[in-house]
């Protein structure tokens, strides 16, 4: 409060002579003083004080008409002081979270053990799409992270010249595989939307039970709310990444710098979010729960796995006669 007061006092002190001056002026030189100082006006325009001010230039390059782009500095400040540190912290926190989860919960085993009866859960095409998307996702994540954090972590270790080789490769992969990821993401959406539509009652119930973590079993249909959540994160956040990535990857439509800066921020935030989410997904899908990884690997799940994790779906499959009566002979896996 005192600080504010002091500021006000200080400003009025500064203004005093100006006010006095203007009194004299309005008496004696009123006509002349009314001429706007074009120099002041010029610099006000140049500095974009009164909003975006576009000039003209004979040079044809992007944004050549702007003398000073004030958004660039805002972007820089945001990127260097907020985005990179916060994204780093968020990623670190989520990794620690998964680690803690692991420590607390350990391996989640099938309560009933394996029945040996295999139920078809994912078609071959679904699996192909999943894995293609997954591989692209991992490459894009790693290359993206390299570009985002490489300067902070890798350059101090290997120097800029060596890092440049990685960075060139990373940029190349990122820029060329990004569009492929966009295609695979669309296919993923189409092939997986069935069963991922939210079902309010079930999903809320599932969530209320913490997905079975909090005490009793939570029933779920083909996909539980957690999986659905991941699906829709992939769809929406992934979609944002794809759209923003497209704007950044194809600078051929005369996008302005402001646009690029905005989409760059969107891209980075969305990418951070999806990487965090993916950490959960990857953990849950691989080592967290017994019997889960093989589902996406082989396409088949154990009937007991189905009963425990997707009881409603299991019952539907049973009713549809899609659950074989006998153990499927498997190569030991």
């Amino acid at each position: 409060m005192t600080k504010l007061l002091k500021t006000i006092l200080f400003i009025s002190f500064l203004l005093l002579p100006q006010i006095a001056q203007s009194n004299i002026s309005s008496n004696q030189f009123d006509e002349s003083i009314s001429i706007e100082n074009p120099g002041a006006e010029l610099w006000r325009n140049v500095r974009q004080r009164d909003g975006i001010f576009e000039g003209t230039s004979q040079s044809q390059s992007t944004d050549a008409n702007f003398l000073i782009n004030i958004t660039g500095e805002a972007w820089r400040q945001y990127r260097m002081l907020d985005l990179i540190p916060k994204a780093g912290i968020a990623l670190l926190v989520s990794l620690i979270g998964v680690l803690l989860f692991r420590v607390i919960r350990g391996n989640i085993l099938l309560e009933a053990g394996r029945s040996g009866i295999k139920i078809l859960r994912f078609s071959t095409s679904q699996r192909v799409i999943h894995w293609v998307t997954a591989i692209l996702f991992i490459i894009l994540s790693l290359t993206g992270l390299l570009l985002l954090f490489g300067r902070s972590f890798l350059i101090p270790m290997m120097g800029a010249e060596a890092f440049s080789y990685f960075a060139v490769g990373a940029k190349f992969l990122h820029d060329y595989l990004g569009p492929a990821f966009a295609v695979s993401l669309v296919l993923l959406f189409i092939f997986f939307i069935k069963g991922n539509m939210p079902s309010l009652k079930q999903d809320l119930a599932w969530l209320a039970k913490g997905g079975g973590m909090l005490g009793r079993h939570a029933s779920a249909d083909r996909y539980n709310a957690g999986e659905k959540g991941w699906f829709w994160i992939a769809a929406f956040v992934g979609g944002a990444i794809v759209v923003s990535g497209f704007v950044l990857d194809f600078p051929i439509f005369g996008q302005s710098r402001e646009t690029m800066e905005l989409f760059h921020v969107i891209h980075t935030i969305a990418a951070t979010l999806i990487v965090i989410a993916s950490i959960g997904h990857i953990y849950m899908g691989t080592i967290a729960m017994d019997g889960t990884f093989e589902v996406m690997k082989t396409g088949y799940c154990d009937s007991n796995w189905a009963k425990e994790h997707h009881d409603l779906w299991y019952e539907k499959q049973l009713a549809a006669g899609k659950v074989p009566a006998q153990k499927t002979p498997t190569k030991s896996s």
Binding site: Q58, S59, Q60, P156, M157, M158, G159, A160, E161, A162
Partner: protein
């Protein structure tokens, strides 16, 4: 942790040596850390042709100057001094040449005109060394296809056809269109060549640039040239610019103008229909309606007379006819001025007062004033304004007429004009006799080269063809298209020789296309094919001869301020091109008069010796003092740029001690007389020998009982303390100074005057006695030999102000004027303003020059101006439903139309549209660039503004009207 090795430069970069305190002087080369300098050495010419590939989007451009590491030494680079070939400022250039390749360009900091500065064009001039889009070899059009031919075949073909036309039609059926881009020597040879061919149908760009200036100004006080200099504007206390936009047309001139503005607090006054880039830096801006120069000047004079601000003593001593001016000016009351020009009284008053209060004030004009049907009235009104204020003949005053092309002053002086021989001698028998004597040729032989008979009468007698003005370049198309019966010469023009001329700088483009198609022969001698090669649909009879640029030859050039500058050869001619004077030799040899043309000029191989040509010029050009500028003196000045003062242009010490830079003409007498040149014309404060001058006694000694000689005014040290007529042998004898001549001089001077005495003795003796050889008279504010003795306003032929036509009508039509019928009233009689409501004007862009074939072929420049456009006011745009950037049709009042981009801007006022004239390649919506020989189309093409420009010619000089016509603009 490996870190980059990051070197820093060795220089303790401290730009010292701030010579003029407002000039940023960079590190002095000599004082810099010389040891750290290791110059690059370059690979040979091999990289040259690949230059075009640099257009590809590679960041490492294909280099002409390929650098190698440290094994180079300073000796590898040759620095060549030359002069920019774009505008008349005459900026010095230092070219770095290595193994014959032009590898770099350094600022010429010691050059007195530009102090290293350049505009976009000068800073890009090294592109001459690339020449990607140049015409590379002699080419002829055969059945619609361009065919490479040898020089010999081309010259032989052309020569045969010319001789055939000469035989069948007339020598006057061949039109010799020269150039302001030639060096002085080439311009002179060109004029001489036309004379030897036997025609006065020879002309060049000056006709359409400052011919009204030359005529108007010379008829006012003697010489038709810029009276002071760019540098002299440092002394000005106020600067008025009318119809002049130096920020785009003469950017380096602004360096001098800003010096006056900042150091003298000189108000800058700009009068222009457009808010030009110059106006943006002005203190007073008067936005007139196009074509109302006389009213606005008379409007200012009205206030000056009203308040008694005129310089009464100056007028009494040195001006004739101010009373008649006063009567005309009285009609231009503030109300009438506002009614006609659109400028309010307060602004006119403010400008007049600024000029009157801050004397010496200078007056600048350019094409905005000259290119009108009343151009000669405009230029004389400007002169009268300066005379009334007593601003003439003082440093900081004067009429600073910025010429256009780099050597338009020289080419004009050297008479590449259809109405005069070199040195403004005219075409009278005496003039021819003078030059025949200089050329050491038989006058009768020269006469025999012309058509026999007579085209017109002079003083009731038949005038010989050689004494009859030829067709001016502005009208050559009429020389082709007009019925034979209506032309005052034996036959129509059948062959055009474009020797360095852009056709798109001329009006009536659509008719020009027809004229080109009607010709028997079209020859284009130019470094570039130019629009002349492509704007027509000819299938045969076109020859393109590749001329070398001025960077590929050497010689002298006259800047706007009358200073001569020596250009050295930077590189050898590229491709198969040849210097113009070599081509002239080849052609004249074929035509059979090379012996006469080069009688006293040594020809080495096929190249005439340039120094010999200049010596011949020196030996004949007595009228304007082109006599003292010997090649030796000019080369010495070139070597010593740095010794000349930035403001006075005078050398202090050094070999050129006392000389003014470039020996601005008149540099009286022979080179041995060592006249320093005349920096400011008509300045009596200096003696004639120091560069002082009086007004020329050119118009007689008395008129209607009034004395035309100066009264009580004379130059410093003059032994005649009053006015006197021009010097002749009789005058010397009367004064008793005859015996001051040497015996040899007496022999040559007997019966001669200061203009025709080839010994220079009369001039020498006059100057010895402190007298100006051309006399000491009054300037005349009234030119009684012109159609409008007192400059008056006349509405343009195509005017939107029908209400003013009755009061300010144009001239009557003329049956035969410069050999051609010329229309005025019959055009103005019809009201076009309904169908064509918008006034159309034109002008320049800084990136391009002239017709633009050269500058649009320069990729560094072309990148900056890629589209032809028309500037239109938002109101007009909205009325036409046009948005910024739209394609529009602009149709001129004669029906020709151009398809251009709309640039919606408040630069022009409502009801006025502006187009730059540098574009060509499109014709009424059709892209003609496919007609270019392969690889020669400029980077940028567009409609020529002058396609839509209309008829209209000055009443004295046939200057074309390009500044006010009418048009309509519709969305495509």
């Amino acid at each position: 942790m490996s870190k980059l090795t990051r070197k820093t430069s060795q220089v303790v970069a401290a730009p010292g040596n701030l010579r003029a305190n407002n000039i940023c002087q960079p590190i002095d080369k000599s004082s810099s850390v010389a040891n750290a300098v290791s110059r690059r050495s370059f690979l040979k010419r091999s990289g040259l042709m690949a230059g075009g590939a640099a257009l590809a989007s590679s960041v490492s451009p294909v280099m002409m100057k390929k650098a190698q590491a440290s094994n180079s030494s300073l000796g590898d680079i040759k620095e060549v001094k030359t002069v920019c070939t774009h505008c008349s400022v005459g900026c010095g250039i230092i070219a770095e040449v290595q193994n014959g390749v032009w590898t770099g360009q350094e600022p010429a900091f010691d050059h007195p005109f530009n102090k290293g500065a350049h505009c976009a064009k000068g800073a890009a001039i090294r592109e001459h060394g690339h020449g990607e889009k140049r015409l590379k070899y002699p080419t002829k059009l055969v059945d619609g296809k361009w065919k490479k031919v040898s020089w010999d075949e081309a010259i032989s073909d052309i020569g045969d056809q010319l001789l055939d036309i000469r035989e069948k039609n007339s020598p006057d059926s061949v039109y010799w269109l020269g150039s302001a881009k030639h060096s002085n020597e080439q311009a002179y040879l060109f004029r001489k060549m036309a004379a030897m061919w036997g025609t006065n149908n020879v002309d060049h760009q000056a006709r359409i640039c400052h011919s009204t200036t030359v005529a108007g100004v010379a008829n006012t006080w003697g010489y038709g040239a810029m009276t002071n200099s760019y540098n002299d504007m440092h002394n000005s206390k106020a600067i008025l610019m009318i119809g002049s936009n130096p920020a785009e047309a003469h950017p380096v001139a602004l360096q001098h103008i800003f010096k006056a503005k900042e150091e003298n607090n000189a108000p800058i006054i700009v009068i222009d229909p457009r808010f030009t880039r110059t106006a943006a830096h002005a203190d007073h801006f008067l936005q007139i309606r196009p074509g109302t120069d006389v009213p606005v000047i008379w409007g200012m004079l009205w206030h000056i007379f009203q308040n008694g601000w005129e310089d009464k003593e100056f007028i009494r001593q040195r001006v004739y006819g101010v009373e008649e001016i006063r009567q005309e000016v009285a009609k231009w009351t503030p109300d009438e001025v506002e009614r006609v020009t659109g400028v309010s009284e307060s602004r006119v008053y403010g400008a007049a007062k600024a000029m009157a209060d801050n004397r010496p004030s200078t007056f600048v004009w350019c094409m905005g004033g000259t290119q009108h049907t009343i151009g000669n009235n405009n230029t004389r009104a400007y002169c009268v304004f300066q005379l009334v204020l007593g601003n003439m003949g003082v440093p900081g005053g004067g009429t600073n007429i910025f010429r256009g092309h780099d050597n338009v002053q020289g080419a004009t002086d050297l008479g590449v004009l259809s109405n005069t021989l070199p040195g403004y001698y005219g075409l009278k028998p005496g003039s021819w006799k003078h030059w025949a004597k200089v050329w050491d040729l038989d006058y009768e032989w020269v006469k025999s080269r012309f058509d026999k008979g007579s085209y017109e009468q002079s003083k009731g007698k038949d005038a010989h063809v050689m004494n009859t003005k030829g067709i001016p370049v502005s009208r050559w198309i009429d020389g082709v298209l007009e019925d034979k019966e209506n032309i005052a010469q034996k036959d129509n023009v059948k062959a055009m020789i474009f020797w360095g001329h852009a056709p798109n700088s001329q009006t009536r483009g659509a008719e020009m296309k027809k004229a080109m198609e009607k010709l028997d022969l079209l020859v284009i001698v130019d470094p570039y094919p130019t629009a002349s090669a492509i704007m027509h649909d000819r299938k045969n009879g076109v020859y393109l001869l590749p001329a070398a640029t001025q960077m590929e030859t050497y010689g002298s050039v006259t800047a706007s301020n009358r200073s001569f500058q020596w250009r050295s050869k930077v590189i050898e001619p590229l491709f198969e091109s040849l210097p113009d004077h070599t081509i002239m030799y080849k052609l004249s040899k074929k035509l059979g008069f090379s012996e006469e043309l080069f009688k006293h000029i040594e020809v080495k191989g096929e190249e005439p010796y340039v120094e010999d040509v200049l010596r011949e010029i020196n030996s004949g050009m007595w009228t304007i003092g082109y006599t003292g500028q010997s090649p030796e003196r000019l080369k010495m000045h070139q070597e010593n740029w740095g010794t000349f003062d930035y403001t006075s242009l005078k050398a202090e010490g050094g070999p050129a001690d006392g000389d003014f830079y470039g020996l601005p003409w008149p540099a009286w007498g022979t080179p041995e007389m060592k006249h320093p040149g005349t920096p400011n014309l008509y300045n009596p404060a200096l003696s004639i020998a120091e560069g002082g001058l009086t007004f020329r006694a050119r118009f007689g000694v008395e008129r209607n009982g009034d004395n035309l000689l100066a009264e009580g005014s004379y130059s410093k040290g003059s032994e005649i303390k009053d006015g006197y007529p021009e010097f002749s042998h009789t005058m010397l004898k009367k004064l008793g100074w005859w015996d001051d001549l040497t015996a040899d001089e007496k022999k040559q001077a007997e019966g001669k005057n200061w203009k025709t005495d080839l010994s220079g003795g009369i001039q020498r003796v006059a100057i010895k006695h402190g007298c100006a050889p051309f006399g000491n008279a009054k300037a005349r504010a009234v030119v009684w030999t012109f159609p409008d003795p007192v400059p008056i306003h006349r509405e343009p032929l195509y005017t939107s102000r029908r209400d003013l036509v009755e009061k300010y009508p144009t001239y009557e039509d003329r049956k035969s004027f410069w050999r051609l019928p010329t229309r005025y009233k019959s055009i103005q009689a019809k009201d076009y303003s309904g169908d064509y409501p918008i006034i159309l004007t034109s002008g320049r862009l800084v990136e391009y020059e002239g017709g633009g074939d050269e500058s649009r072929s320069n990729r560094w420049l072309a990148e900056l101006q890629q589209d032809m456009f028309v500037e239109m006011h938002p109101r007009d745009a909205n009325n036409a439903g046009v948005k910024d950037g739209d394609d529009v049709w602009l149709e001129g009042a004669e029906g020709s139309r151009v398809k251009v981009k709309a640039l919606v801007t408040r630069r022009v006022s409502s009801g006025v549209a502006f187009m730059p004239f540098h574009f060509s390649g499109h014709m009424q919506g059709v892209d003609m660039t496919g007609n270019f020989p392969e690889g020669t189309a400029p980077y940028v093409a567009g409609e020529a503004a002058n396609t839509a420009m209309t008829y209209g010619y000055d009443s004295v000089t046939q200057m074309q009207e390009t500044k006010c016509s009418l048009c309509r603009i519709t969305k495509v």
